[in-house]
Symmetry: C2
Subunit: 430 residues, 2 copies
């Protein structure tokens, strides 16, 4: 049923993003009302402690610690508190009451998004979350709506600005990983405890959301194969450049047979790939669809103001739907594709091997690889230096399953002529 | 009022895009019905001549030459016939009857979009046109909806695949312009008559649509300052690389004082700019917004299947709105900003001058530039070769109005020590 009069908006949380959302709601009230077709009335801002100062934009009269009571008075609930609980319970309460929900909570959606999407569907209400993936970049709406008549086959994303900044620093300055992380911390691009970023947890949550969205299937962060950047060396990063690549932490969600595989790991990307030029703390999501072909969405992945911009865009859409008495396109016909392990992913490996410099070594390496049904694209000597009777080889394979490739590496390790496996990296985007 | 039963869809035009739209409507009927919340019924396809073969996807029974009669039987009208008339009259007829319209017609919207947007608003019906700008790239919906709570300050686009392919060829192969155009024609990236592309008419139409959208103001292609690529030489393209730039044909729409300036011309972009790595026939639109910061949207700018993907996404949205009995967010609160001439645009020039190699020449050049209130960022000798007593200088200015910069160039031309102005190019993206 269509709302009469103003659309009542509740904001849950008043941190960096919440404060910005409130400021924009107040400052752009007239503009927003024109777009929605009715005024937006900010009915309250739920906080843990009403005595903390909130800045000039937030009217202290609007603050309340009674989040549940606030939810019950709203047509549109904006959840920007973060964390799993009580955000999850409050969102479900709002949905059950038929309120539309806008959330920026990647942790919650990564963990339990499918439950919330299903609840919103069952209640016939909107749940929008543009700000939860890649910050200000409009990616959710294009995937849900613009590509509604298409079939997505693969999504590749740089969705964590901290790790992208760190890898970029290593590439441009030759810094080691620890040093680059320290610098990112000093500049505010990394948290004091960078674990969630550098170990790939943040990227895995976003990968789960992107996969759910792109493939209409239930994916949670626990389903995502995850490798962080902590084992990467300055040498790995520098060598990537010599072979025409850059090293990026990628979130990848793709169809694989009758299922989907979702993974987060460092990978080599060719320098000509559009994702390769995504620098510093920027994010980008590269989408491959059957009809549309290749698409990329690029922008600020984090920050209070960019995130608030994405939240406001969602508020306008769901408030407009309230005014006309409906909800946006239905996107949750869950295909329920099975989520497969990384072993099934089709990828390519670059393996650096230190071998004894004897006749016939290359033939032995070639044979081990061929025994796994894998073929080699290139072999080159990776370093000019000579180490006694050792040589370092850089082997790049053709595409094969991750299972076959990792079994190949294990067998190479056992080969008597192989002194050491120096590094193993996946190659994507080709 | 909400539609009961199936949503009746009429397709006007059955060329490359129309055929693909029909194919996708038929093949994905079940999927589309689930998303819309009601089946889509294809009630007819308007063509000029029903006897032309249309391929397997198009049921000959659905073909009709009575486009008006077909429009009158539809809830959603998909216009993919192209050209100004009769497309314009048919779209207005559909809007007046309260049907939602989806169009891919950049020529029509570039010429007379504001009339159509206003008509749709007055009738309270949807007019969607994702496919009319940058083909398959979702740009209209992000700008209209995701950025609804933000303020766009500038849009920079590579919106013509033909010219981008040609400039890319010149850069990578050293070909001259004529040769690169010929090759683009052979590969199907350029028409037999490439005027609309190389003279910037196509880009100007898209610039007008983007400007209308971004600034809620009435801009038509006739308001757009337009320069094509025909005067660019292999030398211009090669020299760009030596100064860390690439040459691109850009469509630029930006706020300027209390108005907007819209222009299409070749420009030097720094190689690190995200638009610089847009290669071949791809398109991209770079958006600067106050809260969201920098965003970029990248993908296929043309082609039957990518364009059909964008059309289908729009069909799902407007059909869904029909089912729930409303229309999408209101975007046409026309700000009616005045459209200013290119003279007011703030930009930078790179000017290559052949000068007499005499003492004091640089001081004279510097003085002429300063007399216009312009300052110089760098001066360098542009060629190692010596031409008798001549030297070639490459002067890059700081930002100033186009009016001041072009007056500066005119005065430099009159300076006795200046033999010749060899080239003048704008520098953008910094």
């Amino acid at each position: 049923m269509a709302t009469r009069g103003p659309v009542r908006v509740a904001v849950l949380g008043c941190g960096v993003v919440g404060t910005e959302v409130v400021r924009l709601l107040v400052q752009q009230a007239e503009d927003l009302a024109a777009r929605v077709g009715a005024p937006l009335e900010l009915v309250g801002v739920a906080v843990r402690d009403t005595s903390t100062p909130r800045g000039a934009a937030v009217d202290p009269e609007l603050l309340t610690t009674d989040a549940e009571g606030l939810v019950d008075r709203a047509d549109v609930v904006v959840e920007v508190m973060g964390g799993v609980e009580p955000a999850r319970a409050l969102i479900l309460r709002a949905i059950e009451r038929g309120a539309a929900v806008v959330t920026a909570n990647k942790e919650l959606l990564g963990k339990d998004g499918p439950t919330l999407y299903a609840a919103a569907d069952a209640a016939g209400t909107d749940l929008y979350f543009e700000a939860a993936v890649a910050g200000a970049i409009p990616i959710v709406r294009p995937v849900r709506e613009s590509l509604a008549g298409d079939r997505i086959t693969r999504v590749l994303g740089i969705v964590n600005g901290t790790t992208n900044y760190v890898l970029d620093q290593m590439a441009t300055s030759g810094q080691g990983l620890q040093e680059a992380v320290r610098q990112a911390q000093e500049l505010g691009f990394a948290e004091a405890d960078p674990t969630a970023d550098v170990e790939g947890y943040d990227a895995a949550a976003k990968a789960a959301i992107l996969a759910s969205l792109a493939f209409h299937t239930r994916v949670s962060a626990a389903d995502v194969h995850r490798e962080g950047i902590m084992n990467l060396t300055a040498d790995d990063v520098a060598r990537a450049a010599t072979t025409g690549h850059v090293l990026k932490l990628l979130a990848i969600a793709e169809r694989s047979g009758d299922g989907v595989v979702v993974r987060v790991h460092p990978a080599l990307l060719p320098q000509w790939h559009p994702l390769a030029s995504v620098r510093g703390s920027f994010n980008a999501v590269f989408v491959e669809a059957e009809a549309a072909g290749e698409l990329m969405f690029y922008g600020r992945g984090a920050g209070g103001t960019p995130t608030a911009s994405a939240v406001l865009g969602d508020v306008v859409t769901v408030a407009r739907n309230k005014v006309i008495g409906g909800k946006g396109p239905i996107e949750s016909r869950y295909a329920e594709l099975p989520v497969r392990g990384v072993a099934e992913a089709v990828t390519r490996y670059q393996v650096e091997l230190r071998v004894r410099d004897l006749p016939g070594v290359l033939a032995q390496v070639w044979q081990v690889v061929a025994d796994h049904g894998v073929s080699i694209e290139t072999v080159r000597q990776s370093r000019a230096e000579v180490y006694g009777d050792h040589a370092d080889l850089l082997v790049v394979t053709h595409a094969a399953t991750d299972e076959a490739l990792s079994a190949t590496v294990a067998d190479l390790q056992d080969l008597p002529v192989v002194v050491k496996i120096l590094s193993v990296l996946r190659v994507e985007g080709v």
